[in-house]
Structures are given as structure tokens and as C-alpha cells.
């Protein structure tokens, strides 16, 4: 089976792994805020430093962390290229019609790429260090107030955790169907984009059918294990510990840091 990088849990025991998922979600939100508050490379450097701390405390191999970036590499380069060519500035190195490459353009593109990478790495750190179950538990707990307005919080959390649980199974299945169709002479590798998409239909239809069959069997299995959607207890109870307090301090320091840099140092572009 191919290694799925994004959204895969990396099972080790570490400081970050043992954090409360709610605190990790809060950290992600705070981090995103910090990235957008940081309007200079100094600000991003502070964010990168904090993220490096997180990676170090998580015991997730650095190579794996960088692998998460691969998925958005094309998007990053595309955005950077557009900005590089269209961003006007004072120090112009090259010009052709409306296109120009300037010092400011280069800096701004670099700034954008860096921001995107920090964002992606931070969110994959969340999935590397948090099991889907505890993540959905966290989301469920955060959304609990919505129960007051009759929002089916538990059902939503269950749907999410089953979807996450089914990802590897369905990936395996896709691979199997692809192999089966290849053996029957299907060609997924050549032809133009339209042809390739068309070649995928014989994969998608069996996949969809089997997903429905799986859903049907899973619902039987859940019912057989007394699932009725209400009056459930929870085995894993979320609890804040001293670790989460540490994270709270880190978040406070991070936000204060980037905010101060923004006010006193200002834009460096």
C-alpha cells in the first residue's frame, strides 16, 4: 500500500501526542492567526521557531514533516510564480509588458510560500500526533454547546471518525480495482487529461458500489453491537493537564511576539 502522508497518525508517545486534542485544535487556530498577524520575515521566523519546537517535542521524524509539504508544492510554486511575475516594486530586475520581476516581488513570493508551508506543516502536525478518534472527540467536545440548538453533534463526530477510518481501506480498494482494470487492458498513464479522467470511470464506479456495500455492512455491525445513537458513555475522557498549560503559555508568547514585531518592527518587504 502506498504511504498516505496527509492525515495519517504517527504512533509514538510524546509530549505533543499526550496533549488534549482541544488544546491542539486551539493551538492550530492560534498559529493560523499568528501567521496572518506576522507581516514580516521576523514574524514568520518566530512562528517557524515555535513550530520547530512542536516538531521536536512530537518525536515525528523531520523527513515525514517535510513530506506533508509535497502535497501543496504545486499550489505553492504556482502562487509564488504568479506573484513573482505580477508584483510590482521599486527595484525592478526584469520587465516585459505587464510582467516584471522585482526585489519586492521575490521577497513577497518567498513570504507567501513560507506562510503556506508553515500552515500545512502545522495542520499535519495535528494529524500526525492526534488519533482521528481523539480529534473527533475534541471537535465533538468543542461543538457540544450546539446541542442546545438540537444540532446532532454526536452523529457528526461519528460520521467524521468513520470517514477517517475508511480512508486507508478505500485507498487499498482503489489500488486493487486499478490493478484489476489494468490487467483487463485499461490505461491510466497515457493520453490527455480528458482521456485520463475518462479512464478513471471504470475505477470509480466499482469503488462507489463497494463503498455503499461497506456502509450497509458496517451499519449492520454497528447495530449488532447495540448502537442506537443515544445514551452512550465515553471511554476516553478528555482532560486538560499541566502539558496543556504549557501550550497555553507558548500560544500567549507566540501571539504577543508576532504582535509586538508587527507594531514595532513593521513590514519588511
Amino acid at each position: 500500500m502506498k504511504e498516505v502522508s496527509f492525515g495519517q497518525y504517527y504512533p509514538v508517545s510524546s509530549f505533543v501526542h499526550r496533549l488534549d486534542p482541544r488544546m491542539k485544535l486551539f493551538f492550530l487556530v492560534a498559529f493560523i492567526v499568528a501567521i496572518f498577524v506576522a507581516d514580516s520575515f521576523y514574524g514568520l521566523a518566530v512562528c517557524a521557531f515555535v513550530l520547530a519546537l512542536v516538531v521536536a517535542w512530537s518525536k515525528v521524524p523531520v523527513l515525514k514533516v517535510f513530506r506533508a509539504v509535497r502535497g501543496v508544492l504545486f499550489l505553492a510554486l504556482f502562487t509564488a510564480a504568479i506573484n513573482l511575475l505580477f508584483h510590482t516594486g521599486e527595484t525592478v530586475y526584469w520587465e516585459y509588458g505587464i510582467l516584471c520581476i522585482s526585489k519586492e516581488g521575490i521577497l513577497f513570493s518567498a513570504y507567501l510560500i513560507l506562510r503556506l508551508f508553515l500552515l500545512v506543516i502545522c495542520s499535519s502536525m495535528l494529524t500526525y500526533t492526534t488519533t482521528p478518534v481523539s480529534l473527533t472527540d475534541g471537535i465533538e467536545s468543542i461543538l457540544t454547546p450546539l446541542k442546545w440548538v438540537k444540532f446532532p453533534v454526536h452523529a457528526l463526530a461519528l460520521i467524521m471518525s468513520i470517514a477517517l477510518r475508511m480512508i486507508p481501506t478505500l485507498m487499498e480498494e482503489t489500488e486493487r480495482i486499478k490493478n484489476a482494470q489494468t490487467a483487463r487492458g485499461a490505461n491510466f498513464e497515457s493520453g490527455n487529461l480528458f482521456k485520463r479522467i475518462k479512464a478513471f470511470i471504470p475505477v470509480l464506479i466499482p469503488l462507489l458500489l463497494s463503498a455503499f456495500r461497506r456502509a450497509d455492512e458496517l451499519s449492520d455491525a454497528m447495530e449488532a453491537r447495540c448502537y442506537k445513537g443515544e445514551k452512550r458513555t465515553k471511554y476516553k475522557k478528555l482532560q486538560f493537564t499541566w502539558r496543556d498549560l504549557v501550550v497555553l503559555f507558548v500560544i500567549a508568547a507566540l501571539i504577543t511576539g508576532v504582535a509586538l514585531l508587527r507594531v514595532y518592527v513593521g513590514e519588511i518587504l
Binding site: S161, L164, L218, Y227, T233, K234
Partner: protein
Amino acid sequence: MHAIEFRDVDFAYGEGEFRIQKLNFSVEKGEFVAILGHNGSGKSTLARLSNGILLPDAGEIRVFGTLLDEKHLYDVRSRVGVVFQNPDNQTVASVVEDDIAFGAENVGLAREEIGKRIDFALSAVGMEAYRDATVARLSGGQKQRVAIAGVLALRPDVMILDESTAMLDPKGRREIMEVVQKLNRDEGVTVLLITHFVEEALLADRALVMSKGGIVMQGAPAEIFSRGDELLAYDLTLPRIGIIAKRLREGGMSVSDTLDVEKLAEEIAGCVS
């Protein structure tokens, strides 16, 4: 009082398409019963009827004397667990421990009790070392053992295995059968093993053969398998050991129709020397 009792049960998926017709049988507490049958014989429908995933159109099903109806659905389901065929379609959670907890959470047990149940279920299926493992990375046999543990966490009196070994390799199949035998012997769990592998039925106290929605043969496995031609009529074959003994007899060797490998080996040795 029977563990499970079917009385004149009818069930049809659609108008006139009977899957189960006038089915009568019972299973005693602590018994290990194998149900054999070819595809479409109604044996999986029987499993789904036994814990109320399907409700009968006519007749009644009783579980430890309790009538299985809408009102007693969850009482019955917590006493009768079902392990299904495909291990990938039974696990709800990504991590072994969380999946085993699912059933226990559904019936509203306290946290400490759920923890104890998980310990018990994991050790019963010999998967203690995999408590924090990701289900997707386990082998087929291991996944199916997790599925069994998930059912065991509800502490059922009866466990139904609906072709639970059909998708496994020989090693996985052996693992599951060992676990099932152990549960039946040590924990006193009543086992209803639905299968089309005749070899597995040899381990049971009693075997039932189903065809076209009814029970057509029943008795001790050895007795059932001594009626090879009849089995063939229901699209079932003898276990391999039985076929060997039969061929040897046809070839003129005087061996009995035993299904015990050791015994047959001794008899052959006796004939040869």
C-alpha cells in the same frame, strides 16, 4: 430454557421471495453448533434474525426465553453478538482499543468497567500487545480477532460467527477457530458458527445443514459427514480427511469413516504393515 429458539420462523426479503421458511431449531447454553450451507441457503439470514437486525415475518424467536421483538431488541443484542464476514467492514474506530470500546459505550457502561472489558476482550483473543495499534495495519486474522473482541466487550452469552473466516487465509482461519474454541470451552460462550468450510464444523458439538431456507440435516458432525452423498446433494463436500478415507476404502483398504486425522493415520499404518 434454550439459548436461542426459532419457532416456525418465516422471513422473506421481498414479496414471496422466502429466505427462511418454517424454521425450527434451538441451541442450548454452552453448546457449540455449526451451521453449514451453500450460498443462498439462508444461513446468513438466520444470523441476522438471531439478534434482531432482521425481524421475522412470522413465527417467533426467543433468546434465553425473552421474545425477540422491537421492545426487547437491545436486551437481546447485548446477549447475542455477531461477528460478520468482512473484517474491514466491522471496525468503527481506527485504533484497536477505541473500536473494542464502541459496543461497551453503546450500552452506557461506566469508564472503569469499559476499561476492564477491553482488558478482558483483548486477552481472550490474544491481542494484548495491539491495544494501541492502528486497525488498518493488522493482518486479516488479527482484524477479525479485534472484531471478536469488540463483540466480547459486551459480554454476550451467545456469539454468532457469520462466515467470519471466509475472507481469511488458512493461518487467519486457524487463529479464529482457536479463539472460538477457547471462548466456548473456558468462558462458556454459546457459539453458533455459520460456515461453508466443512472442516470447521468438525470442531462443533452439533452440526446443522441448511438448504433453501430450512434445516435439512442435523446431528453430530461425524454422523453428518458419514452421509457424504446426502451432503453432496446440498452442494457441500466432505472434509478432506473424509474424502481420503472414502477413496482408500474404495481402493480396498479397510479403514473406518473416521474424521480424526491421528486415528486415520494409525489405521493406514496398521493396514500397510
